[in-house]
């Protein structure tokens, strides 16, 4: 199992470090808080069992929380996103037949597929995040603004990261 998910474990660590030491310090207008770390949840293999998907999402959220003193916030939003993932895969169009080595990235599934899949999940994550953070409906305008601004910025970062680290398939 360690072998099958070796790349994912490495990605987990790199994304947490990037998020905590660099991205959390980006501040544009006070609304934008990009969450590149969700790329980990997006890129887990299609055949990842449901429990592992949820638990690993909880763990990456919890790691981010520990660094930002936001106990439970990112964990909650990440688990919500992981819960929606199987549905988002079906929505974007599941690969006809899992050949065991198709991965949910641009390289295997194409840009359009990946963009739709990312858009739905990142927006859901940002919405859950802003909602849990404000924790009251009175701030709904603020929540929506944060969701849109943060979500858009996150998606741009994810697409850039995908192209930068895209491995050519043989």
């Amino acid at each position: 199992m360690t072998k099958a998910y070796g790349k994912d474990i490495l990605r987990f660590v790199i994304l947490v470090v990037l998020q905590v030491f660099i991205l959390d310090h980006i501040n544009l207008g006070g609304y934008i808080n990009p969450s590149l770390y969700v790329l980990f949840i997006l890129l887990l293999p299609f055949e990842t069992p449901g429990w592992l998907l949820l638990v690993s999402s909880f763990l990456i959220g919890f790691s981010i929380d520990s660094f930002g003193n936001t106990t439970g916030l990112h964990a909650g939003a990440s688990v919500f996103m992981a819960f929606l993932r199987p549905w988002a895969v079906r929505l974007a169009g599941a690969p006809a037949e899992y050949e065991g080595n198709l991965k949910p990235g641009i390289a295997d599934m194409g840009f359009r597929w990946f963009f739709g899949y990312t858009l739905v999940l990142v927006m859901a994550h940002q919405f859950a995040l802003s909602m849990l953070e404000a924790f009251r409906f009175a701030e709904i305008g603020y929540v929506l603004l944060r969701t849109l601004a943060g979500g858009a910025f996150t998606i741009v970062l994810i697409i850039i990261a995908e192209y930068l680290f895209m491995s050519k398939r043989k």
């Binding site: 808080n33 660094f67 439970g72 953070e133």
Partner: protein, 276 residues
């Protein structure tokens, strides 16, 4: 029973999702309980060490600015000292007891982690229980108020920054001695809001807002910010004042943690009133 188990097993994805969300929400809701737990101490140890290393590297980039700030502060403190000496030269006899009735003691600390882009922002400092830091101590920078200590581990402490929806500080317009409540409404990390200033007083742009000293946490007269925009809804009895924070909360480095030596006594006194 077997049917229930079979049902849960069949929908294990959904039930695990609910379970993890409940855990996350319990963690959020019982933040203060979590912060006193062993797990929190362990994660603080890991994150604190990582942040210390990182801040050790990045500190070099700001040396010039930090030195400038500290030099300016030194100059200001020197000025106060000289004034004291001049005003006391008519005395024939002077008792120099610097410890008698000393109310506030200061500990210097370095910010090793900080954020300004969330709704609730926290700052991590490199001092903890071992250095005598406790909950509810005040934190200020050379320029002004920063926040309050909310959680302490062996060697580190978390500070609730002014940029937090739970942060509520008693402030006043210094020129008029009018009391109000300082909060942050999200968005721009340089601008805060002052509520509860009655509409009959005349406020000017640029008025200084300082701490009132009534909270038992902050000493009196520490700068919080400068009035920028004064609003009042028709029929309302209080102003809503937007002001610029005097401390740049986005580029904090050296701060002071302040202990009020009489805080317990003051709190005790207040408790007596409530209990009556």
């Amino acid at each position: 029973m077997r049917h229930i188990l079979a049902f849960i097993w069949k929908h294990n994805f959904f039930f695990l999702f609910v379970l993890l969300e409940v855990v996350a929400i319990i963690l959020m809701a019982n933040r203060s309980f979590y912060q006193r737990s062993v797990l929190s101490n362990a994660t603080d140890y890991v994150t604190g060490s990582a942040y210390s290393t990182w801040s050790g590297i990045t500190s070099y980039f700001n040396l010039k600015r930090d030195n400038q700030l500290l030099a300016e502060e030194n100059a200001r403190l020197h000025r106060i000292l000289t004034r004291e000496q001049l005003s006391s030269d008519t005395l024939t006899h002077m008792v120099e007891d610097t410890v008698f009735n000393l109310q506030y003691t200061y500990v210097d600390a370095v910010v090793i982690s900080n954020s300004t882009n969330r709704r609730d922002n926290y700052i991590m400092l490199n001092k903890g229980i071992r250095q005598g830091i406790e909950r509810d101590m005040a934190v200020i920078s050379p320029a002004g108020v920063v926040g309050t200590v909310v959680s302490v581990s062996e060697n580190f402490s978390w500070v609730m920054s002014l940029l937090n929806k739970h942060s509520k500080i008693s402030g006043r317009i210094q020129r008029l001695n009018q009391m109000g409540t300082v909060v942050w409404e999200g968005g721009n990390p340089a601008v805060g809001t002052l509520h509860d200033i009655p509409a009959h007083v005349k406020i000017n742009k640029g008025d200084t807002i300082t701490t009132s000293g009534f909270s038992h946490i902050f000493p009196e007269g520490i700068s919080i910010g400068y009035v920028e925009e004064i609003n009042i809804k028709s029929g309302d009895h209080f102003y809503t004042i937007h002001f610029r924070f005097s401390a740049d909360l986005n580029s904090l480095r050296h701060v002071y943690i302040i202990k009020n030596q009489f805080r317990e006594e003051q709190e005790e006194l207040r408790k007596n009133i409530i209990n009556d």
